[in-house]
Amino acid sequence: MIISIASGKGGTGKTTVATNLALSIDTDVQLLDCDVEEPNAHLFIHPIFEKIETITTPVPVVDEEKCNLCKKCSEICQFKAIMVIGETVLTFHELCHSCGGCMEVCPEGAITETGRELGIIERGHRNGLEFIHGRLRVGEAMSPPLIKKVRSFTRPDRLTIIDAPPGTSCPVIAAMKDVDFILLVTEPTPFGLNDLKLAVGAVNILKIPCGLVINRSDIGDENVKEYATKEDLPVLMEIPFDRQIAETYSRGEALVEVMSEWKEKFLELYHRIEEIVR
């Protein structure tokens, strides 16, 4: 089973839920941190990393000797990543989406590919928990290919928990597509509700069952709960605002390891998800 933890709004507690859920379940679990722009789960899991690899995406290199300046490459490119200016071909690797069109269209076979670094993937474990995350290179714009690469380590024989990035656009979709359940973490405020509605819109496009965790559930107003009732979204867990929880988080400690009563609650959350998926 694959569970993706997402939110729409940032800072609602995705990582808190993902890490504590992963630490509460005793069966074989893998935690994939797919928030590759700002990966944080390792700060609470404290894994021992064993493998690190650099991930690249293909970008074109032009052999000027072979190039006859026909401009077919710049015509096919939708991203202005390759252009013929005067007697030279310029490539802009940071704009390239790696479609391979220029290489395919070149009648002289003058284009080959090299790699642009997207970032790194680190893999490790903490006791029985398998931990994998991606770290987007600072300056790199495109996170979805790195997210997909992190997800390629999914093992079907395990429970996989994905910590997704915030928002509702392509990186989030890459972290939510083809999973069994999406857990949306929200807070009961106007910003929380607005972004929750957007996230539910994305979940509906993917047609995946989902449920809510309401974090800091005693601040704000009642509108998130009213929305959940109206849309028939199950509220699977509520976490009240508690200064001790906030301070525990601030130090990089997992809630279930400091306040052990939470382990039961996260286990119950997992069982409720299991029931829905079944």
Binding site: E38, N40, F44, C99, S143, G167, T168, I205, S250
Partner: protein, 288 residues
């Protein structure tokens, strides 16, 4: 004309509430919401009389099954695995690269421009505002951010306004890169947590990469005063400007629930006093 972009790395540190408070304090400005993916500033600014525009972000391939001979070339060429065995294109996976369109021997693939969001110029009680909404599950957020910032710039020139106050997105990827290039300064709003510190470091590196001066403030600083001191020390080591700190104050949530800025809600609160001080420092630094 100056532009200040408020970013954070980590989401939920208080960017939008702080931008809203600055909106109440700053004079002669255009407001710009560059968090097009999950925009929230309008919930406080209550924009009116919006001029609406479609955002056309790119093209999407569609196979005409009357012309398609199912030769399979498109499937072989597509690097996104967006075309299934029934020759249907998954619009979520399609990158809009047009390679299948170009090579289809039957010219059976259309490539229409897709409307993938909308943007607005509106009036608010604090002045004009440019904002947008990217369609759910869409790509091209960077392109929409660039457009929104350009429109804000045009508007400031047209109306003779000296400042653009931009609410940026979280993260360090495509929309953030599009938000900060060419700005006079970024304000990084962080929080005194391990993740706030970690994410601030990455977004500060991004600002340095694009040579945009970075100012740093710590929100909810009293949740972990030791971590706040670590962050302050970090800013000194990296030659960033430590702008100040804001205490944890529930008025941020109370004000939001009422659709108000904290300045309107309770200008004597501790949170608001801290924001006044931050704004004073920013005004001096940006000379506005």
């Amino acid at each position: 004309m100056k532009e200040l972009v408020v970013i954070s790395g980590k989401g939920g540190t208080g960017k939008t509430s702080i931008v809203a408070a600055f909106a109440a304090l700053a004079k002669n400005k255009v407001l710009c919401d560059a968090d097009v993916d999950a925009a929230d500033l309008h919930l406080i600014m209550d924009p009116k009389d919006s001029q609406h525009h479609d955002f056309q972000g790119g093209n999407r391939a569609i196979i005409d099954h009357d012309k398609c001979t199912e030769c399979g070339l498109c499937i072989d060429l597509c690097r996104w695995d967006a075309i299934n065995d029934h020759f249907e294109i998954d619009s979520i996976e399609c990158e809009g690269c047009g390679v299948c369109v170009y090579f289809c021997p039957e010219e059976a693939i259309d490539f229409p421009i897709k409307t993938c969001g909308e943007w607005f110029i509106s009036d608010t009680r604090f002045g004009p505002m440019v904002h947008a909404r990217l369609g759910v599950a869409e790509a091209n957020s960077g392109k929409l951010v660039t457009l929104v910032r350009q429109e804000a710039k045009n508007l400031s020139e047209e109306k003779g306004l000296d400042l653009i106050l931009t609410d940026g997105p979280p993260g360090i990827g495509c929309p953030v890169i599009a938000s900060i290039g060419g700005a006079n300064a970024v304000l990084i709003v962080t929080e005194p947590t391990v993740s706030g510190e970690h994410d601030m470091d990455r977004v500060a590196q991004l600002a340095a990469h694009f040579r945009v001066p970075a100012l740093v403030c710590v929100n909810k600083f009293d949740l972990n005063p030791d971590k706040t001191r670590d962050i302050e020390k970090y800013t000194r080591e990296k030659n960033l400007t430590f702008l100040g700190q804001i205490p944890f104050d529930p008025i941020f949530t109370w004000a939001m629930v009422q659709g108000k800025t904290i300045v309107e809600f309770d200008s004597h609160s501790e949170g608001c006093k801290a924001v006044y001080e931050l704004w004073g420092n920013i005004s001096q630094i940006l000379k506005i």
